[in-house]
Amino acid sequence: MAKGREAEDGGEDRAEGGAVDAAELRGRVRELLAAHPPGAVSPEEFLRARFDAGLAWVHFPRGLGGLGAPRSLQPVVDAELAAADAPDNDPRRIGIGLGMAAPTILRYGTEEQKQRFLRPLWTGEEPWCQLFSEPGAGSDLAGLRTRAVREPGGDWIVDGQKVWTSSAHTARWAILIARTDPDVPKHQGITYFVCDMTDPGVEVRPLRQLTGEAEFNEVFLTGVRIPDAHRLGAIGDGWRVAQATLMNERVAIGGRVLPREAGMVAAAAATWRERPELRTPELHDRLLSAWIDAEVARLSAERVRQQLAVGSPGPEGAGLKLAFARLNQRISGLEVELLGEDGLRYGDWTMVRPRSVDFYGRDAGYRYLRAKGNSIEGGTSEILRNIIAERVLELPAEPRTDKDAAWKDLPR
């Protein structure tokens, strides 16, 4: 899936990266640590200095937190800074900004937008959320009905409702797609914006999930004012810009390369080792099958990483999230069963609003329930199978009636 890779890399030239190597990065880390000793300056100050030194995300361009270096060198920087006990930007808390907003801004934003948004996004001073899904537009995202109408003065006024918005309650900014032209086919009438979450027209309500927590929100937009300078990409080109975000989202969810026996399988394997009284032959074979599938998924992610690193992208990236969801659901279900009587206990149903999402946290019951979202969030497994079938295997699309009609004329 070439588009996915291009998007993931922010579409920036990696050619200039040839000049920066691991030794140079280590030297720059030493200089950073000498000039801004982590113990002597505040975490915010250190992170700003790290960004300015081009050590935030080394594959980003110079001046935007990077050095135009190969992405594969980022672990060198991370390891050196971790060894020096330097503060990090808590990537789990600001994952939507890092994984989805930043590459989209880098690729489609104006110079002013890049300069304004990327630094506080990366340092975590300004967290982001993503206002895409709506009650009536889930898998059919392009059918969205949140409207953005342009005022004579040039600002946009947005009205509508978004849903399933992780981190909306902590976000400073949002990436938002809204309908700006109902008279053209649905994919053509969408525009992409940056929305100020402190606007008085933004109302965030927690949406409690089956885990008992409210990690998601409903977001009501009523007369929200967005200056045209916060439009990302051309008017009517929002669907294309959103594709870049969605591709990155899938990689962010399913594409991480973990160590062997990490992720969902870790807890099940640990329970197996620590509690011999729970073992049965049947559970043993299922655990080993799951362990193998987890290892194979890990190798698949590693193989995609290697393909990206040498610049010959393969289509495998699209399948990573599909595999990730299936595996997490299977293993977390097995873990509850393995626990037997203890699997009947659930930690706590109290409604809380976590600051970040945790797939593997809390207890087995939580893991089992939270994993159900893995095949829905960031594109359902069914939509991902369509993408694989149509874009990788090049099978024909299902016959459709909604592609050429004006959005306003579609049945709903």
């Binding site: 990537p91 789990r92 994952g95 890092l98 993503q130 899904s133 399933w164 918005t165 981190s167 990690e215 989202e249 962010a252 969810i253 991480r256 160590p259 062997r260 026996e261 990490a262 992720g263 870790a266 394997a269 080792r273 011999p276 073992r279 049965t280 043993h284 080993l288 099958s289 362990w291 193998i292 599938d293 290892e295 194979v296 998924a297 190798l299 698949s300 193989r303 399948g319 599909l322 595999a323 970040s356 797939f359 593997y360 946290g361 979202g373 969030e377 594109g379 069914e382 991902l384 199978r385 369509n386 694989i388 079938a389 149509e390 990788v392 295997l393 099978l395 024909p396 299902e398 016959p399």
Partner: protein, 395 residues
């Protein structure tokens, strides 16, 4: 839908499983790509699926001219043999690529038996010994073909076989069932237990005291035979540790078989996608029905996963990684099922035509199902893995 942030790092690997191998190279090198292209071209020219069917129904399941071209012209017979012993000095990575192509065309050739199993066992023998070096040289040159006299179902990690005995004069007596790749094999490399313990022996297959009884095998494209020895003259192939040499051969072959299974699965996927992209029913291309597209998408995911696993095993074998037993157990346990599933889907999604003798899908189904048993079943490899990664069975 808005996605959550990145997964937590909370679940770290348990100390007991903390073999942290360096990341294997899971890609294909330019040399490997070139090798693949050469093998593929030759097979397309000499051995299309229709020809395979005709061949396996005939008297001579292996095409000696095809094997000569593969073995001698392309140098595949000596791929794993060091250059100083007359071979190509390649590694398991290149052999894996060859097996992908041979699997993808279900070619009847003795590559697995001779160039992988027998050769790998010999490479663990005494490489200063004249008999060992001489045989390796002949195998590498393609002038002699051999096979390893073990049941095709033999798995790495098992006991040294005791069905053949060697007497004080080095004569072999006993029987080995379901040996692969005997047609055309001039030499049998035979594990046998002698007065001094386990050893490997070279036996001329044509010797009158050797009985090779082919039987009708499930996999038409990989003939099997029961082999018996009645005081057969044998030449010892000295090694410091014959069980270790045999086990290394079985481990190598099991790991590389995952690449053959990958080749089988890839063909089944490609051919099924191609067919469903052409066939019309209900006024539509059959491949536009979502229920079928989703099945193929799932199958695609299995195939790309099998590729990662097979590459990991090949790389671990090629680099002599201490992680090789884990990588092989993972690859073999995983890829075996993928090949079978892909072949079963190919038959089903071709509909009635998939059930016919003329359509080659059945050749792939039979190869895939036989490969599931070959060199250890998936369950057997899972049991091995349980020990390796410290997930013990119930007491």
């Amino acid at each position: 839908m808005t996605a959550p942030t990145q997964p937590a790092d909370r679940s770290q690997a348990h100390p007991a499983a903390q073999v942290r191998p360096a990341a294997p190279d899971l890609l294909y090198s330019d040399v490997e790509d070139d090798l693949r292209a050469a093998v593929r071209d030759l097979l397309a020219d000499r051995c299309p699926p229709g020809a395979v069917l005709t061949r396996v129904e005939g008297e001579q399941p292996y095409d000696p001219e095809l094997w000569r071209l593969l073995a001698a012209e392309l140098g595949l017979a000596g791929l794993l043999v060091p250059e100083e012993l007359g071979g190509q000095g390649a590694t398991a990575r290149e052999a894996a690529v060859v097996l992908e192509e041979l699997g993808g065309a279900v070619v009847p050739t003795p590559f697995l038996g001779s160039a992988v199993l027998a050769t790998s066992a010999l490479l663990r023998c005494d490489l200063a010994d004249e008999a060992v070096v001489g045989l390796l040289g002949r195998l590498a040159a393609g002038t002699t073909t051999a096979t390893l006299a073990v049941p095709l179902s033999a798995a790495p990690g098992g006991d040294f076989p005791a069905t053949v005995r060697a007497d004080a004069e080095g004569r072999l007596t006993g029987r080995v069932t379901s040996v692969a790749d005997t047609p055309g094999a001039g030499v049998l490399v035979v594990p046998a237990v002698g007065p001094d313990g386990p050893g490997l022996y070279e036996v001329a297959a044509a010797d009158a005291s050797v009985g090779v009884e082919p039987f009708s095998s499930l996999d038409l494209t990989r003939p099997l035979a029961d082999v018996s020895f009645t005081g057969s003259a044998a030449r010892p192939l000295p090694s410091a540790d014959a069980p270790a040499a045999l086990d290394a051969a079985l481990l190598t072959a099991a790991g590389l078989l995952a690449s053959e299974q990958l080749g089988v699965a890839q063909w089944c996927l490609d051919e099924t996608v191609r067919y469903l992209g052409q066939r019309h029913q209900f006024g539509r291309v059959v491949g536009s029905f979502q229920s079928l597209k989703h099945r193929l998408a799932d199958l695609w995911l299995e195939v790309v996963s099998a590729r990662a696993a097979a590459r990991a095993a090949a790389d671990a074998l090629a680099t002599g990684s201490p992680d090789a037993p884990v990588a092989v157990a993972v690859a073999q346990s995983y890829a075996a099922g993928v090949a079978v599933h892909a072949a079963e889907e190919a038959v089903q999604l071709h509909g009635g035509i998939g059930m016919t003798w003329e359509h080659p899908a059945h050749l792939y189904l039979k190869r895939a199902k036989a490969d599931e048993i070959a060199l250890g079943t998936p369950g057997r490899h899972r049991a091995t893995l349980a020990t390796l990664v410290k997930l013990p069975p119930p007491n």
